[in-house]
């Protein structure tokens, strides 16, 4: 048996779909953020895998992942700051209750 590209893409895809499921079903904002991280992570895996299998001498995919991780870290930090702020105002982080910005 040989570990081809498919073997890595399938778990990545699965992880992504889990992220999607979590994103659309969970109500807790932090859980939504976790789902988001899952999706990001799946995409990162894809970058690395394609780089490794198709362009083994180069490092573009790797660097892309690297920057994606950095940006994810920034985004998470900011999102968590917002969540904490919302919690302070609304005492709740249920995403369904936070709809003051409609219409």
């Amino acid at each position: 048996m040989e570990l081809t590209m498919l073997y890595y893409l399938i778990p990545s895809l699965f992880m992504f779909c889990c992220g999607v499921y979590g994103f659309v079903t969970r109500k807790n904002m932090i859980a939504i953020l976790i789902s988001l991280e899952l999706m990001l992570n799946a995409v990162d895996i894809n970058f690395v895998v394609f780089n490794r299998y198709l362009f083994p001498g180069n490092m573009e995919g790797m660097f892309f992942t690297l920057f994606a991780i950095a940006i994810a870290a920034a985004e998470t930090a900011l999102a968590i700051a917002i969540i904490i702020n919302i919690f302070r105002v609304a005492s709740d982080i249920d995403v369904r209750e936070i709809n003051k910005m409609k219409f």
Binding site: L13, G22, E37, D44, A77, L78, A81, I84
Partner: protein
Amino acid sequence: MESVGSIIMYVIIALAIVIFSILAVTTRKILRAATYLLFTLFATAAIYFQLDYEFLGAVQIAVYAGGIVVLFVFSILLTSHPGDNSEKLASKSKKMGLVGAAVMFIAAAWSLFSRCEMLMTSRPEMSNPDMQRVGEALMGTAHYQYLLPFEAVSVLLLACIIGGVVIARKR
């Protein structure tokens, strides 16, 4: 042909990814979800190691597993009262989510398998990118070198720190 060890390793990683991903989005205790996310991230790091990107794997563990998850835990502890579970999901929305994810999965898998011959490429030989190459690529300005994005990310992180402080600050 891969060694049996790496195949076993792969199976463990793949199983960990699948199981912990599912658990991370289905568990009702939010702290546990964060923990499962941590495991998923570890498994991802393992994939990076298996694919010979050791630097990337290290960054994954350091930033993601070490930094982001800790942030998650902190914020969970700050925003949820101890011992309360998250609400039970309505079965309707659960089903909807499942359907959506499944359709997504099928569509993506379908497009994957429609490129079947490409997916079947075996792993080429590659020398592990050593730290000097990574460092030069990160700090250089020539073709395929990434000083500018590096700096941009550093500015972004700075902005993020300031923004985080401003937003979360008590007024």
